[in-house]
């Protein structure tokens, strides 16, 4: 978050806003210390029901969406790191993405990084029936967890993970809410090691920045 504050501050464009949204079942208790420490001038919200994850069919964090002045999606879900702190783990270089945002802020819909409707539609997929059911199981698990039934929540978190196995939000959130080794027999680090170098983010596809604006 401090990285995004610097980026936002340096851009200093009154027609550009960052809305960052914490996907945290624990709500302010878990997310607020990070927000307080980052002192963002941009909009920082807390989503304790993973509503945005579900609305936008997301499967991981950090995930970004570009929305233009008319409220239309011009770049859908993609991985969005602001720095290279964890690059050794996921191999994604933050730099080209930050350059792409700067280009968009400067050139608007003429930016080469803005997709046309067809390109956006090709990247967006409707949620599968399994994903929709996973969302319901996850919602039930969150409800039980928040109402003092954490033990009973575990089976429903597991069911959500089974139904939508590529959804890292549903795995990592559930693991973070309890003793992952004891209750799920795994951990984030173990799962990453199992991948043996296979990426756990959908590959980012940015066009050549040297192309002229449209």
């Amino acid at each position: 978050m401090p990285g995004w504050q610097t980026f936002y501050h340096d851009l200093n464009d009154k027609n550009f806003e960052i809305i960052s949204i914490a996907q945290d079942t624990g709500g302010a208790k878990d997310a607020a210390p990070w927000i307080t420490a980052a002192k963002p001038d941009y909009t920082a919200l807390i989503d304790d029901k993973h509503l945005v994850t579900q609305l936008y069919n997301m499967v991981n964090v950090p995930t970004a969406v570009w929305i233009n002045e008319k409220g239309m999606i011009v770049r859908p879900n993609e991985v969005a790191y602001v720095d290279n702190r964890y690059k050794a783990m996921h191999g994604i270089d933050a730099g080209p993405y930050l350059d792409a945002i700067r280009d968009w802020v400067a050139n608007g819909d003429r930016s080469v990084f803005v997709m046309n409707e067809q390109e956006v539609k090709e990247r967006l997929k409707p949620p599968s029936p399994e994903r929709s059911m996973a969302d319901a199981e996850f919602g039930l698990a969150e409800y039980l967890h928040k109402n003092g039934k954490s033990e009973d929540a575990i089976g429903h978190f597991k069911e959500a993970q089974r139904l939508d196995p590529d959804n890292w939000n549903y795995k990592r959130q559930a693991w973070a809410l309890s003793d992952a080794e004891k209750n799920y027999g795994t951990s984030f680090m173990k799962e990453v090691q199992k991948l043996n170098g296979k990426p756990y983010y959908a590959p980012r596809k940015l066009p050549d920045a040297k192309k002229q604006p449209k």
Binding site: L55, A64, W66, E69, M72, A136, K149
Partner: protein
């Protein structure tokens, strides 16, 4: 002996009452909001609720044209009405899980705690894929003040999700 029989009878009555109470209560989570309802104690895998609870928990009411909330109406198949509506004595019951299946709405259930979670109906899922209009939401900041995406029309918005975990 008589006293013992009376005790057994009272204990049985209490147990029956408790069991009936357990069967008769349920928590319905609909549109993310939890409502305590009276559930039919008929042994069934479905959730039958009273017409009053249907309205309290979901906002839907049964009308001649279908199951409706404001402008939204889902007609019930004429030949299958008995699957959805059942009058027993003075009470009319509505099968909320059969309705969910009709409108392609996922339902997750926790039997032990009597909780039913109703997810997004098919008509609520992925509606933006045709228009590409970013789905709106309203969420709080750390001070509890709410913000909606639509408040930022006229600006470019970089929406970023993150998490503490």
């Amino acid at each position: 002996m008589l006293r013992m029989l009376v005790c057994i009878a009272i204990a049985s009555l209490l147990a029956a009452a408790a069991s009936s109470a357990d069967r008769g209560r349920a928590a319905v989570i609909y549109d993310g909001v939890s409502t305590e309802v009276t559930a039919s104690s008929e042994p069934t895998k479905d959730l039958w609720v009273t017409m009053q609870d249907l309205k309290r928990a979901t906002g839907f009411v049964v009308k001649p044209q279908g199951v409706c909330r404001d402008e939204l109406c889902f007609p019930l198949p004429a030949k299958r009405k008995a699957e959805f509506i059942s009058k027993r004595g003075a009470v009319t019951w509505f099968n909320l899980t059969a309705f969910a299946a009709l409108v392609k709405q996922p339902v997750a259930r926790d039997v032990k705690n009597g909780v039913w979670y109703f997810g997004k109906r098919e008509d609520e899922r992925g509606g933006y894929l045709a228009s590409l209009e970013a789905p709106d939401f309203t969420l709080p900041d750390i001070n509890g003040k709410t913000h909606s995406l639509r408040d930022y029309r006229g600006k470019k918005v970089l929406l970023i999700t993150w998490a503490s975990w």
